[in-house]
Symmetry: C2
Subunit: 120 residues, 2 copies
Amino acid sequence: MSKYKLAIVMRTDLDMGKGKMCVEAGHATLLAWVNQSELHSTIETRNAWYSEGQFKVILKVKDAHELMWIDELARREGLPVVQVRDFGKTQVEPNTLTCIAIGPALSEDVDKVTGTLPLL
Amino acid sequence: MSKYKLAIVMRTDLDMGKGKMCVEAGHATLLAWVNQSELHSTIETRNAWYSEGQFKVILKVKDAHELMWIDELARREGLPVVQVRDFGKTQVEPNTLTCIAIGPALSEDVDKVTGTLPLL
């Protein structure tokens, strides 16, 4: 078990191909890394996660409603959260919420929110 | 057309599921962003790419041999290149080269190397 993790939670109702999902996961990872919002990881947590191997897990939800529920749960726990909205040049409509990233944070804290979600 | 891009070139011979490919694409994106190697993007290029919307494209090659050939071509062009090697805790053997990232760089320069590769 990694001490720290980044969980990316992806919608599966948008008919995104695997390449598109990879793009969104890349966005999510970088947004989580540069996150300067109110709910951000400390530099110490980010560096610990990075040094440990940047452990990531990709989970799935069935739609935007379920994704926003997970987003809300993560915020209530005070976890770092970023939302990925696509420009919509390909495959999805502009400004579509495609996924969120939770972390980097202690795995045990992330798991409180995402522990029951299935792997993508 | 975006002026700058990051191209991620993924092996397709490793039987990685789409979740695993998303993980590797996330690694590739972050490694390209923090890249401090000899062949790295300038801060100006990185910021321009980021501000423009972090345009990414995910391409595919059939095996490690083809991937290393693309890697070599990119280095010859002086493009920023990072290799992603997996810890091998899941799905692949430890230290397996799964993908590379080329850029962020001017799209026209990246396309010289990756322009003929198919989308993942």
